[in-house]
Symmetry: C4
Subunit: 318 residues, 4 copies
């Protein structure tokens, strides 16, 4: 009985970020350079795959505007075709000289209905054309209501710009060494109550089975009230650290990856912001020290030079 | 005196999910298959029953668009009737040939005013018609402002697609057995800080009174930082588990239900997501083990096959 | 030194809801019947007094629509006056028969510009009229953008309908008595993670000075995961309760008030909901027991009858 | 080994708000009078510097409306120029008398297309003009969709108006003295669950190196459930306070600053509100006591006079 609880208890205490122990492939990072998880889904339902709203919110602005333009043209063409089917003679003012001019006048009447600009030079006469035009105006308003919502969704989405130093450094720290990286808020927004957690992940082999294990690393400071300048995150490599005794070679052999999760509150909207980052073992510098980024210009305020975020000097370790 | 405190203290420590002890009906689940509570309200005030905004946000897209169309037609008919009462001779450009054409021109003028397309082929003349047209344009703009708000509300509503395995399994686990089920985020959104709690509910009879009791089940892991792949939730059936010693028969006799509440944060909007699920006692498989869902394609990323979420093999228990 | 710390420590442990000790007036409730604080501000800055957005969000729908109508008419009149000043001869299509018809045509042209319906029967000619019309259309679009925002703000505002029993009861409970009240979610929305806190406030006289004191009352259950049915909140009046030994007379003499703060999460939008309530000492019933509200109809789901929320039977106390 | 842990542990326990120890300039406040951090960024990417959405949300209303007007005119001029290039003879109804009248009619046609008012007195004929007009209407709708989103963003942004007393006072308190300041919600909104933290920051010189240190000050009460009236925040200067023994002179020599971070929940929208404030050492009054702000008018509610927020009497210290 006691034994049972021991095993269960031990399993309970094992750390796991939600990746599981099976992710042991050599060439594959768990978190990509842009903070995404390196997992692809197959077999999703169409709805879940489409994930319309999320997709329309996260595509680039260029793609978004071209999509709007495309839908606009497609709707105009479709309705123009409908008016053409009904007969352009039911659109007063259409230039009847030839098929070409007829179609384009139907097309532009369609555009004028969809956007509700309705100049009236061309206007519907009779039930069929008027009815379709009434539906088109409604469709146009619905479309622009949807676009308004999407635009606000795109705007108001929390979009923190947190820069991480390109490398994590093993640096001398007090009378031992420490693993350090630094980050800074690139925007002038104020981020408050910023928290960070750092997990050391490596593949361990036991009885010929490779399992990925996860170890939380204690930080000098894991939360700051304010985040106005750069913040250097420090894990002191004391003897009780899971990192103690590692070398570049052991890290490479174990496909080590350092995973960082940060969260804070953007003060403008009191929005939660979340950001992930990871350092792969080959992004560690053994013996480096970050150069200062903050200066005082002798004037009214402090100056933070973001271009220096990656800069470090080579130094000897303790 | 001591006794008093004992009883009060005991009551205080009894678990209760908010369902109370009176829900002891044999045929009735507490949480339905789609995660709703199985309770109907009567005697609500009209306002609370209508619950307009909530209803308009949660009805299906099909119903929503038909409702918009219906309101659009209804408003057009009402205003058309008003113009008809005023006299269509106050609408310049109306086809006066017969009553039929007059009414439809009033109707389409109404549509052109409501959508603010205003071609002008038909236009109001005189105070009454102009005044009503002015009100109709305002009404149209209000209506589309409302629709814009509703569309954004529908879009931005947290809408997680978390799949649960069809069955919960009693599976061998370490040197004992465990109750297991698994879940996966069907969408490609990133969900973080995912938490889950599992409650075992059963009806107990004491002195001839049937009361429903609730017992929290300790989990191997009740929170993960990231939720990129599938997550198997495990309750080890050790001797101190409230589930210890149960059999399919005792569970059936006690109308047992396993209730699951999950919460996490959708990373796109930093929105909280909440999801409930339950397994009724007849959805337990005694002696099963989930098949793996995650594969490595030998390429750049891991592959998660969602179609395998329900798959398990039959195995012997410890 | 020790003494200093004692006094400071004692003060630190004193409970205070943020009302302070000076609120000792006899006739005045701290929390009004509708959950507002009974405090008026004077000397606010104009901006803070106006509090535009908040006011436009919280006024009734009737007032809101009349305000929109009023602003619409006011803007139309102002612009009509501008066109009149410029000269209605610069509006093509105006009925020039008399001043009256000229003004109203300017007015309706204004309405057609503001709503961007722009029939064109009346249209601006020349720089001045066209320029003002261009500004008016812009003003109209801004106005409707603002209204769209306000409508969404009004819709999306968390608006819980939590009913509280009219009376709080002193009821027999286990082998002692308890202070009880109950609440229910009137809407069919699901509220989860519902928490409640109960504070007993009374005026105490010491050395001739009346000070209001606040005592938290321990609850049988202060949080439920789900809130699908009614919830009876119970404070057991054991000997260590600050309420122990009180009578209707002592409560009246001390202007006692029971203040309730609740919070939960509305599942539809994952919105936090907050609600306050209070029972004045004359709303306590000494010796009552709530009647059940939940029934099983022998069918698929449980029935919750909201009309019974206030109902209780008179009973003898322990 | 023990020594290592000691140093690391000591560093871990040092308080730091996220400002770091290097901010030791004499003339520079860390938090400005309006609650911003006194740090300027250089070397931002263009995007991060622009920070479009945030900037458009936080600029003043005057600037915002002038920006809208400016963009409106700019777009109109640009499209007018396009129509002019295409040839105004493709706009039916344009006054062709001279170049001047032609340009302005193109300009106003542009305005009528952009706002979708489309009177139709001027209307496009032929492909080129119709095509540009179709694009312009789309651009107009997009622009107003964007403005709608921005307006809602500006409205719905949490905008608490929390007033702080101009001075922090050193006041007699129980049998010792205390550092006190007070704050009040200027608006009538209800703020709940209000929390405050106070940090005492000063520059300390060790071995000729000036480092800024941060000390949290224990408060009499650091959280109130409700915030209906004024709240006086009190730090008792007992012997274990980091402030104990300081004088106006020692504070000035150490560039002392008292930094305040508050957070609460605005009840109207259940929005989190955050506010920072700081008192520089020269804003302390040694020997003062705040005058009461709350009165009872002998009527139904209490009266809070916001004009008295800064008022204090001079008193002797303990």
């Amino acid at each position: 009985m006691q034994k049972k609880n021991t095993l269960v208890e031990k399993e309970r205490n094992r750390q796991d970020l939600g990746f599981g122990t099976k992710m042991t492939d050599r060439r594959t990072r768990l978190i990509t350079k842009n903070g995404q998880f390196n997992v692809k889904r197959v077999g999703q339902s169409f709805d879940a795959w489409l994930n319309t709203y999320n997709r329309l919110i996260t595509i680039s602005w260029i793609k978004f505007f071209f999509l709007v333009l495309f839908v606009y043209l497609l709707l105009n063409l479709s309705f123009a075709y409908l008016y053409y089917l009904i007969g352009v003679e039911h659109l007063a003012g259409v230039d009847m000289t030839n098929t070409h001019s007829q179609f384009w006048d139907a097309f532009f009447f369609s555009a004028q209905s969809l956007t509700t600009v309705g100049y009236g030079r061309i206007a519907p006469i009779g039930f069929a054309a008027s009815f379709v035009a009434g539906l088109e105006s409604l469709a146009g308003l619905m479309m622009f209501a949807i676009i308004t919502g999407l635009l606000y969704g795109r705007f108001s989405r929390p979009n923190p710009r947190i820069l991480f130093s390109k490398n994590a450094l093993i640096a001398p720290y007090l009378d031992t060494n420490a693993l350090m990286f630094r980050m800074v808020n690139e925007k002038s927004n104020q981020i408050i109550n910023m928290e960070v957690s750092l997990v050391f992940s490596k593949v361990e082999e036991k009885n010929g089975v490779r399992n990925r294990q996860y170890y939380g690393l204690t930080l000098e400071r894991s939360k700051v009230n304010f985040f106005p300048t750069n913040w250097t995150i420090v894990h002191a490599i004391t003897e009780d650290s899971p990192f103690y005794g590692e070398t570049p070679e052991t890290l490479a052999a174990a496909d080590a990856e350092f995973m960082i999760a940060t969260q804070g509150i953007d003060d403008t909207f009191a929005d939660a912001v979340h950001k992930r980052h990871s350092y792969f073992h080959d992004e560690l510098v053994w013996g480096g020290k970050f150069k200062p980024m903050l200066e005082n210009d002798g004037e009214e305020s402090y100056i933070l030079d973001l271009r220096k975020i990656h800069d470090y000097d080579l130094v000897a370790l303790n």
